[in-house]
């Protein structure tokens, strides 16, 4: 309906290969960005920004990371939580060792640590396919969790065993620690997520992304086309873990403020996997939609009894929450196994062919 594509013709391959070849899509992106960068900081209250937007963005980034591995390369992973942990602990150590370096640089650098760890645990993927790979990543998950507990150096020998975020400034503004304002933290997270999403989209649309998808769709044919499985799979593991690592670091530094091993347990791996599957395998938009669904829905569910003035104890709400989410996951898998991204795509398609049905 809003798509008016007539007259949008391409005279160069550059224009035709653009990631958003349709003008209306470009406008939509511009509007989303405007809302995210201007409207939300101006109008959003602290609760909304801290409890909804920041975690939503961070989980979106982690979901993009996992999606690169599962959705684009077809390698199942249950180690996301631990890879996020690697990023977080790496960033914590980096801030300890280099207290003067800009925190954003450190956050990004911590991604490299989880990328290396991710590649290490990705090595077996060369010989192991499908569900067997779940075991490898579970090994990573549990082994790394164990490391986070048993290697006190990682948390600076704190008695609590937790990592606590020190106060750091970015261009003179307090960015981390207890006195950083939600808006500042939100804007930093948003900027990192936007840039990294853009980069992910570029990679996916290029040579490397194609190689990943070739491995996913038909690994034998891919190899016969000259794709080295080693390169393709390991690069996917590396990029994926990098994204997860950065997300993990941001989770601690811009959201939780402090964390211990529970923040990176297997339930987090599942949570992110849900986001990816519900959002849609092999879709960046899906990663955002999935994160929004899985994260924001419970927040809303928790708020519902309060708004109706019902006095239900928190534990019960939590239990019901679990049931609803579990039920919704099954429902979604049955109704639309390709996830929210497919629904999004269908809606977009409907608008493009409006008023026709196809």
């Amino acid at each position: 309906m809003f798509y008016r594509e007539a007259g949008q013709f391409k005279t160069t391959y550059k224009a035709d290969q653009a990631i958003f070849p349709i003008f209306q899509d470009r406008m939509a992106i511009a509007i989303y960005l405007l809302i995210a960068f201007v409207a939300i900081p101006v109008f959003g209250n602290d609760f909304f920004i801290t409890s909804m937007m920041i975690p939503f963005l961070i989980f979106s980034l982690a979901a993009i990371g996992l999606n690169i591995l599962v959705g684009y390369t077809g390698q199942i992973s249950l180690g996301t939580g631990a890879f996020m942990g690697v990023g977080a602990y790496a960033c914590y150590k980096l801030t300890t060792i280099f207290p003067d370096i800009n925190i954003i640089v450190l956050i990004i650098s911590s991604g490299f640590f989880s990328a290396v760890i991710g590649m290490l645990f990705g090595l077996p993927s060369l010989r192991i396919k499908g569900f067997y790979l779940v075991v490898t990543t579970l090994a990573a998950q549990f082994f790394l969790e164990w490391c986070f507990i048993r290697i006190p150096w990682l948390y600076n020998y704190n008695d609590s065993g937790a990592i606590e975020v020190p106060q750091r400034e970015v261009f003179g503004i307090i960015a981390t620690g207890a006195s950083a304002t939600p808006t500042t933290r939100y804007l930093i997270v948003l900027a990192i997520v936007v840039v990294m999403t853009w980069i992910a989209s570029n990679i996916i649309h290029g040579r490397i992304g194609r190689a990943w998808m070739m491995i996913r769709d038909m690994d034998i044919a891919a190899e016969l086309m000259g794709i080295r499985p080693l390169n393709a799979k390991l690069s996917a593991f590396a990029v994926s873990s990098f994204y997860c690592g950065v997300a993990g670091a941001m989770m601690v530094f811009f959201w939780l403020g402090a964390a211990e091993v529970e923040s990176f347990d297997i339930n987090h791996s599942f949570l992110i996997l849900f986001m990816v599957v519900i959002g849609g395998l092999g879709s960046l938009v899906g990663s955002f939609l999935g994160a929004a669904f899985i994260w924001i829905l419970p927040v809303i569910l928790r708020a519902i009894p309060r708004t109706f003035g019902l006095d239900i104890n928190a534990a019960t709400i939590e239990h019901v929450n679990f049931m609803i989410i579990g039920g919704l996951i099954i429902f979604f898998l049955i109704v639309e196994p390709h996830g929210l991204a497919r629904l999004w795509g269908l809606a977009k398609q409907k608008l493009r062919v409006w008023p026709f049905p196809y």
């Binding site: 499908g130 067997y132 075991v135 579970l138 549990f142 898998l333 196994p337």
Partner: protein, 318 residues
């Protein structure tokens, strides 16, 4: 040097010096292995018949045990509770087949896998909603399970065997034999195998897939209940068990996803090696290695024999 000794010398000296302790460790490993085997058995049953990797098997164990305890707490006699818990598992199997499996036929493995995770989330919420989140103790005595222990004098030392563990091993053995007979002697059992071999073929000889799935899930439910009772008797009935249940995965890797004997042997291997490593080598790493050791074993194993102990070599075709 000291490290190498720590790896290659001291543990073995320790074993040789304390044979009774070694026996005790092996027994512990055996018991843990039995439970792993039972867990894996549940997985194998379902995987064999429907190709679904049932992540919810762990929570089914918890759920079965909670039902049992719950019914008893409501004042019912132990055996009635046991029967009702079985009925609950049956109802669960039926519901899962109706509501989930039937709708997801022909979906990729990942989707089915995710669905079972969704199922386990639901069951966690549901279980906690009904029974509360706090750990409960198993009604061991009420069910007539032995609780004492025997102390065996051997090698100038003692080995303690819990009667419960012996019972557990026996029950596991009975279950396995029972299932083996079920598979080979009954019509439904043969149908199950047909389904495992070839869905299309099974359909063409007039076997209803839906029925079979329900039966298999019920069978897995029975196994889950048995596992739940044993596990619950040793520790408490709590939701933490679902993480432990993931151990079934390395067990399956070792034993192969579709082999019942494989599940048993794999479970035992994991049980033994895990305990041995924890006790004799774990100290080197600061302890607590039980959490990941099984996975690493499986991972290393996979690198050399991706098809598992009992699987056949896969020839890829193009």
């Amino acid at each position: 040097m000291e490290l190498l000794k720590g790896i290659f010398q001291y543990p073995f000296e320790e074993m040789a010096n304390g044979p009774a302790f070694l026996l005790q460790v092996l027994w512990e490993g055996f018991v843990a292995g039995t439970l792993y085997s039972l867990l894996a058995l549940g997985f194998v049953l379902i995987f064999k018949a429907s190709g679904v990797f049932n992540f919810a098997q762990g929570i089914m164990v918890v759920f079965a045990a909670l039902s049992l305890v719950g019914f008893h707490a409501a004042g019912l006699p132990a055996y009635v509770s046991l029967f009702l818990a079985l009925a609950v598992m049956g109802a669960l199997a039926w519901t899962v087949e109706r509501v989930v499996l039937r709708k997801l036929v022909n979906q990729p493995d990942l989707i089915l896998f995710m669905a079972t995770i969704g199922l386990s989330y639901f069951l966690i919420g549901f279980g906690e909603f009904i029974f509360g989140g706090e750990p409960k103790s198993m009604i061991t005595e009420e069910l007539g399970l032995p609780t004492g222990s025997s102390v065996i004098d051997i090698f100038d030392d003692i080995v303690i065997l819990q009667h419960l563990d012996i019972a557990a091993a026996l029950i596991a053995a009975i279950l396995v034999i029972g299932l083996a007979l079920f598979f080979s002697k009954t019509r439904i059992g043969r149908a199950l195998r047909a389904v495992a071999d070839d869905h299309q073929a099974a359909l063409s000889v007039g076997i209803s897939l839906n029925q079979i799935w329900a039966i298999v899930w019920f069978a897995a439910g029975i196994v889950a209940l048995a596992t739940g009772i044993m596990w619950g008797a040793r520790s408490d009935v709590s939701f933490a068990l679902q993480i432990v249940a993931l151990k079934a995965l390395p067990v399956l890797i070792l034993g192969g996803f579709t082999s019942v004997p494989g599940a048993i042997i794999g479970g035992l291997i994991v049980g033994f090696s895990e305990k041995l490593f924890e006790v004799y080598w774990g100290g080197l790493l600061g302890g607590g290695v039980e959490g990941w050791f099984a996975y690493v074993v499986a991972l290393i194993f996979l690198l050399f024999r991706p098809q598992g102990l009992f699987g056949e070599k896969i020839i890829e075709r193009v």
